[in-house]
């Protein structure tokens, strides 16, 4: 079974970079869905359950923080690991993500190696290893 990832970012460039970096980090065969903000992500989540959601925080319409809160309020969605992609490495951000149970944080810019480490870490935490190896 292929890994399924959902990328949520209002920047087309960042979505392209993330898609490329995920593939470069060894996940050539995965399925990647994309959303331009939290609301679009919620619509996609009505039809697919990804293995990992990668989300930006600053987005119009529905921010990454609001998306994480929404996921945590839904029984069916709250177990999906969320990795936050941000350039804001502040105590506030880390405290929020800790409280909301985010699976990880990647600070932009990041390398394919950083991506590989975080995906492996999340998959180990969730017992998902072996799916794409």
């Amino acid at each position: 079974m292929k890994d399924v990832f959902l990328i949520v970012d209002d920047s087309l460039t960042q979505r392209m970079i993330l898609q490329k970096v995920i593939k470069m980090s060894g996940y050539h065969d995965c399925l990647i869905h994309q959303a331009g903000n939290g609301r679009e992500a919620v619509e996609i989540l009505e039809s697919i359950i990804p293995d990992i959601i990668f989300t930006d925080l600053n987005m119009p319409i529905m921010s990454g923080e609001e998306l994480i809160e929404y996921l945590n309020s839904k029984e069916k969605l709250k177990e999906i690991p969320v990795v936050v992609i941000t350039s804001k490495d502040s105590d506030y951000t880390r405290k929020f993500l800790d409280e909301e149970g985010a699976a990880g944080i990647l600070i932009k810019p990041f390398s394919p190696e950083d991506m590989m480490v975080i995906i492996q870490h999340v998959k180990q935490m969730r017992g998902l290893n072996g799916k794409n190896e």
């Binding site: 920047s11 087309l12 970079i17 502040s90 105590d91 810019p109």
Partner: protein, 149 residues
């Protein structure tokens, strides 16, 4: 001055890591900036415990290459929409590092897109309370401009 050196170093580092463009700081008062030079700019606003405007400027001749490098593209043609999105995304990325360097990691803030466009090089010489830092990569210019509120 130490803080400015730190910000200059950070700018060079993030420009290098993101767009594979290796830019060194230069003295605006010493370097002759061509009058007909056009620069692409993207301004973001940071708001919250700290407030201000930060503008990233890049030589128009270098902007396309910079964005192509960001995306890992080689032969592909990039649209003006992608160039704009890439330059705005770089401003967003750099602003997070910039705010942390300037104010530490205790501040809570948000970053918003504010303005995007083209300016002539005389913009670099205008002084209205902004801090202007100039960089060169080969014979191309990049700049960082900011104003705290």
């Amino acid at each position: 001055m130490e803080k400015m050196n730190e910000i200059d170093g950070l700018f060079s580092e993030i420009v290098g890591e993101t767009g594979f463009v290796f830019a060194d700081p230069v003295d605006l008062e010493v370097v002759d900036v061509p009058e007909d030079l056009m620069l692409v700019f993207s301004t973001v606003k940071y708001e919250g415990d700290a407030n201000g405007l930060m503008t990233f400027l890049i030589d128009k001749r270098l902007a396309t290459e910079f964005v192509k490098n960001m995306l890992g593209l080689e032969e592909e043609v990039v649209t003006s929409e992608i160039i704009r999105d890439g330059i705005e995304e770089f401003s967003n990325i750099f602003c997070g590092h910039f705010v942390k360097a300037l104010y530490g990691n205790k501040v809570n803030y948000s970053i918003k897109k504010f303005d995007f466009g083209l300016v002539k090089s005389n913009f670099l010489l205008k002084s209205d309370g902004r801090v202007m830092r100039l960089f060169m990569s080969d014979d191309n210019f990049l700049a960082l401009c900011f104003k705290e509120n």
